[in-house]
Symmetry: C2
Subunit: 200 residues, 2 copies
DNA sequence: CGCGGATCGTGCAGTCCGGGCAATGTTGCG
DNA sequence: CGCAACATTGCCCGGACTGCACGATCCGCG
């Protein structure tokens, strides 16, 4: 499955490009970095860059389309007795744990860099957006409706993105001292309660 | 305030460019249209195009940054006794009514064109995203917290975007036969109830 | 009325993004 | 070992977008 020298090499160069992009942008800012620079640091030709990422911005954000559908798949695999919200909470809990546990500095660096460049924030929103469309489909299946027929699937999918983004944002704001899973869970608490104004 | 020949002309060319972009893309698709084409149909020089929109995509989406802050301002202006959710609902009701009442075909055409091009969906998400950041600030003020300190402001701001997008999507799915304000309101009902699974 | 100052439209030149094509090298399979 | 598949790369091109400089237009003030 994961075997094959070819596969591993591809993954490696992909990661190399992503990290090169991340570092360079952290150093010089988005406009101070060209695709050629990134390719150079990753030791590939500029032309090859585009075999891995369609856009400079995408290389910086570094989230591939395959990871995008993941949420929807995991959601669909949850036990049938769970309500949509319960199932989504569980999926998010798992994802948040994974993200917090990765190579340590990867997500923090990513989020810091993205947060400083509106264009990249937009790109991140876009990635979430396409994940949400897939998710809406899965939600519709679970609730027995169609995406077009009811607001619920689209709404819940978008809301789930909102919860995750809010969690990530709070994580960044805490300078990564807080626990990401706890923050995401907190968001879901508020959602399940109907978003009452927080008492001070 | 609105006076001045200059002001009016600017608004006019801006709208002309937007509509030209919209029509052309509806006819030929996004890649079949160049900035020069759009400028030509709007009767301005290609260079002038960029005085009005930073990007071809932005011209198609056609929502300016000023309109973006609008939601936050209106929210801030709501009576203080309203809860954040109540205030947001009211703002959305007003916006939805306005959008449904505009030059008729403008929003429908916009939404149809955007829906067909993933890049434009992304751009729309981006616009919503920056609106949400402004809104989060306003929510933080109203609830007496800070944006970094609590998940709530970011979350609610993102959720409000989700509600509006879900409403718009359902509106499009109904081929604009349904009432946009009603759809948005329906979304808020679900949110206030904690997003229970819809009964079939 | 008319005269600066500010603002807008425009052309030109240049950089960079991003993609199609074809040659070359590398990997994996029988 | 040899062939087929695929990845890398170079070349080239059109289109997006920017900085600059100049002319035209509009606005406010005397």
């Amino acid at each position: 499955m994961t075997s094959g020298l070819r596969e591993r090499k591809k993954l490696a160069t992909r990661l190399a490009l992503h990290q090169a992009a991340l570092q360079l942008v952290a150093e010089r800012g988005l406009d101070g970095v060209s695709v050629d620079d990134i390719a150079a640091r990753a030791d590939v030709s500029p032309r090859t860059f585009f075999n891995y990422f369609p856009t400079k911005d995408d290389a910086v954000v570094g989230i591939d389309a395959s990871a995008v559908g993941q949420a929807a798949e995991r959601f669909a695999a949850r036990p049938a007795h769970e309500s949509p919200v319960e199932a989504l909470r569980a999926v998010h809990a798992q994802q948040a744990t994974e993200m917090a546990g990765e190579p340590e500095t990867l997500w923090p660096l990513r989020l810091r860099v993205i947060d400083e460049h509106p264009v990249l924030i937009a790109r991140l929103h876009a990635v979430f957006g396409s994940a949400e469309r897939a998710l809406a489909e899965a939600i519709a299946v679970r609730t027995g409706t169609a995406v077009g027929a009811d607001v619920y699937p689209t709404l819940l999918a978008a809301v789930s993105g909102a919860a995750m983004r809010a969690g990530l944002h709070a994580w960044l704001a805490s300078d990564f001292t807080a626990s990401l899973p706890a923050l995401v869970d907190e968001a879901w608490d508020a959602l399940a309660a109907g978003l009452p104004a927080p008492r001070r």
